[in-house]
Structures are given as C-alpha cells and as structure tokens.
Amino acid sequence: MRNGNYNQTLNAGAQKTQSRRNLMSWLLTAPALIWLILFFLVPYFIVVIYSFLTPDIYDVQFEFSLEAYRQALNLQYLSTFFQSFRLAALTTLLCILLGFPVAYYIARAKDKVKNTLLVFIIIPFWTNLIIRIFSWRIFLSYNGVLNDLLMRSGLINQPLEIMRTDLAVLLVMVYVYLPYMILPLYSVLEKLDFTLLHAAMDLGANEIKAFFRITLPLAAEGIFAGSLLVFIPALGAYLIPQLVGNQRSLYLGQVITYKIKNIPRNWPMASALSLTLLVFVAILLVALFALYKRSKKLRRV
C-alpha cells in the first residue's frame, strides 16, 4: 500500500527509484537465493538422476535403469507406503482430538495464565527429540517404569510388551507432534469471537449445535495448518519407528534410510522412494490448498 501511494504521486523519477530498489532487493536476497539453489534445489535434480541409475554395493553405476521404479511398485513397498500413510493419518487424527480441548482451554484462560500455559506446551517442543523418544523407552520398556508400577499395584502379573510395537510408535508420534497441533489451533481459537457463541445460544442453539456450526468452522484454519504440520513430517518419520518400533513392520523413513546407509546400498531405490513421497506430498498440498480456497470462497458467499 505504501508503495502504491508513492507511485501514484511520483513521476518519471519513480521508475528509476523503483528499478534501483529492485536491484537492491536482488543483491540482498542473492546470498540466500544462491545458497538455496545450490543446496536445496540442485540436490533434488541429483535425486532424480540417481533414481534412474543402477545400484552398486557401495555406490551407484552410471547406467540407465528403470529397475528402481519397477520395484517401488511392488506389493512390499506399496504396503510400506500404506503403513506410513496410516501412521501419519492416525497421528494427525489423535492430535486433533487431544489438541482441540487443550487449545480451547488455553484460549479461554485468563490473559495472565495464558502465557504460562503456553510455555508448558512449548517446553517439550524445545526439548531434544531424541531425548523425548528415549524417555518413552524408559517408561514403556519390558522392565520399565510403567510395567513396574502395574505389576506392583497387582493389575498385571506379567510385564506388558508395549515397546517395539506399532502402538508404541503411534503413542510416541502423538506425543512428539501434539504441540505442532496445539499451537496453530490455539492461535485461531484465541481470535475467536466468543460473543458469537453466546449469541447463537441466546437464539436457542445448544452447546453441541453451536460447537459444530460456529466454533468448528471458525477453527478450520487452525486444524488445517496443524494437520499439515503433523501429517507431512509424520509421513517421513524415521527416528521414532526406529527407536520404539519393531523391525518386522518398517515405515517408509526406515526403508529409505536403510537403502542409503546399510550395505548393500541401493541409492536408486532410495531416490525413487523419496521422489514418490515428494510427489505424493506435492499432490496432497495442491489438493488441500485448492479445497481450502474453495471453502473460503464458499464461506464468503
């Protein structure tokens, strides 16, 4: 807006200033631009190239091959994709269900308490990921704290085998990603005009109706942002399945990592799987944003 006003009032000199400012912007952004092209964009081209090469035990052979893609469509890898997709979807869903009441509670708390409550959500978020995962291992392992407590209280006779199951993976995933859901939900709910709710209820709507008709649609933006922040990283999760899951059911992140790190290496396969994941995420994002734009338009009408 500021620029707009300037341009309307100024004459020939404005054009010159404008192009000088443009040049200045190019110069200022150039270091980051070059950096990101070299170390973000170019590496993906190499991934594309590698996905069409022939694997070698330690490296790749520069021979064209479509083998990686042919294998990626095998039932084995499709089930890996499905497994990761299911984990990400369940994690997102549970984060919404758990995160919504929490965000709502903080948003409606008194202003003084609000910041303290938020800090409590943020501290685990700032704590090292690997430590948080490790702490669950101590809690859940065969002779860990949970089993110890349950045995002592006489609720069970034999230790539960929670560690190294898909349930443990889901549990820790929800634990790690919950703050990513709560924070965007909170920022939407905080702006929510609660007088609307009261108005609706004065007009005879009950709490449940008011929730579904007013709170939920207005919070949609937060749910949308939170879901993206949870679902997408969850698709590529490696560390959590690796440390609390079992080796019988591998997730996508584990398969990709093994193909790169373990010998015999299969970098074309890792590349093909990575690109499949990338394309899937891209399609998902485009579809979601289209949906989001449409729903926004509809709401305005």
Partner: protein
C-alpha cells in the same frame, strides 16, 4: 441457567483434557530426570541416589567431543543463517521485488516437505560431488534448513514495522546508513534474536539431516545418543539428557528475559 451449567461442564472437560495432556507431556521427561540419579546399570527399580553418571559424563571424551561438535555446528549455522535471514528479509520488504515469488517458494517449500528428503538429497549431492562428509557437510546442511526459519521470523517482525520513525528521520535529513543502524536495526533486533535462538535449537536438535550428511567419525550429540541407545549402554544417556533438558529450560528462560530487556530498552 441451564446454559451456564453446560458451559461449565464443557470448561471442566477441557480442563480435564488439559491436565491429562500435561501429564502425558511431562511424565516421561520427569521419569528420565529421576532415573538419571538412580544407582543402577540398567532400567530397573530405584536402587539409591547417585551422581556417578554425571561424573562419568565429564570423563567421557567421546561425549565431550560430540558436545564440542554440536556447539560449533550450532554456533556457526546460527550465525550464517541469521545473517542470510536478515539480508533476505530486508530484500523481500520491497513488495514489487521481481524475484519475490521465486524467493518465497525457495523459503517455504523446505518447510512443507518431510525433512528426511532434505537429508537424502544432500547425501546424494555430497556423493555425486565426491565431497568428504564431515563437519563441513553437516554445517552446509544445517545452514540450509535453518535459513527458511530465520527469514520467516525476521520477516514477520518487519511486517509489523512502523515506518513513521524512518520517514521522520529521512525528513530530518538522516543518511540511509545512519537510519539503518540507529532506527531500523534496533527495532529488528528482537526478531533477529528470536530467529537466532530458533536456528540454534533446531541445529542442536537435528538428527536425521545430520545422520545423512555426517561421515564416520563426526558425531553430534543426537547422533551419539542414538548410537548409544542402539548399542544398549544407556546409563550416561540419562544424565546427559537431563543436562540437555536443563539447557533447554535455560534457553526458554533467557529468551523471555532477553525479550523483556529488549522491549524495555526500546
């Protein structure tokens, strides 16, 4: 009256959910801290209080080296990515900048794709270019994933910027450099500090991208911790983790303090 009761019921339900989530978030961490003082080699019941695993930490050269590596990488990548962030945010301030769309895409896209993909792509880049992996490659990787965050944080600070001060200074005949260092930079400073702290924590925290870009013999703390957990010798990990949590809390507290001091000086 009925409405009020239901409202109260809902608020009570939310409070219950909130408390449960708090327990869920903190129980594992608390147990970890308590067990770092437990006098036992494996995870079992309570065997008495000890500080010996803390002393072992300071005698362990591998841990000391991993710590040094982590700090060097975090310090350098924070500094470089913050400088790049400041420059980029200033460049993007110009709404008519012809490279704005390209730059925004390069900044936002890394945030919306799983970070394992950045690890894979950089691993292949370093293989393709035959660069020896180690500190240098880890540093490049860390700067790459920190840039997006520093730019966005500093940019959001610039958006709420009050230009009347700059315009007033210009009207009074101040030179651009003077305006920048005396007015704009101090106003940007809280954003810059927030960006730097974020970059620092992200760098310390990162496992997966470091895992793909560090060679053998260059361990950061998360890499060391993961390896140790896998090998099963975990006693020192408890105490190490407790110290790292303490460090996090320290960071949270100083951020708050810093912000308060900065706001009061401006």
């Amino acid at each position: 009256m009925k409405r009020l009761n239901i409202s109260r019921f809902y608020q009570g339900m939310n409070l219950t959910a909130f408390s449960l989530v708090m327990v869920f978030l903190y129980i594992p961490i608390l147990i970890l801290i308590i067990f770092s003082f437990n006098n036992a080699k494996i995870i079992t019941g309570w065997r008495g209080f000890t500080l010996k695993y803390y002393f072992q930490l300071f005698e362990n050269d591998t841990i000391k080296e991993a710590f040094r590596n982590t700090m060097v990488i975090a310090g350098l990548s924070t500094f470089i990515s913050t400088v790049l962030g400041v420059l980029t945010a200033l460049g993007m301030e110009n709404k008519k900048f012809s490279g704005r769309k390209l730059m925004s895409a390069l900044i936002y896209v890394p945030l919306v794709i799983p970070d394992i993909l950045m690890g894979v792509s950089l691993a292949l880049l370093f293989n393709f270019t035959r660069v020896n992996t180690g500190m240098f490659t880890v540093l490049i990787a860390h700067i790459t994933f920190c840039i997006s965050y520093t730019v966005i944080v500093i940019q959001s600070r610039l958006e709420g910027f009050n230009y009347s001060l700059v315009e007033a200074a210009m009207d009074l005949g101040a030179r651009p450099a003077y305006i920048f260092w005396k007015i704009k930079f101090p106003l940007m400073l809280p954003g810059i500090i927030a960006a730097a702290l974020l970059a620092f924590t992200l760098s310390i925290d990162d496992f997966i991208i470091t895992f793909f870009t560090s060679g053998r013999g260059f361990d950061t703390l998360p890499i060391y911790v993961e390896g140790t957990i896998r090998r099963g010798t975990i006693t020192t990990i408890n105490s190490l983790s407790t110290l790292m949590i303490g460090f996090t809390l320290f960071l949270v507290v100083i951020t708050k303090r810093l912000r308060k001091i900065l706001i009061s000086t401006i």
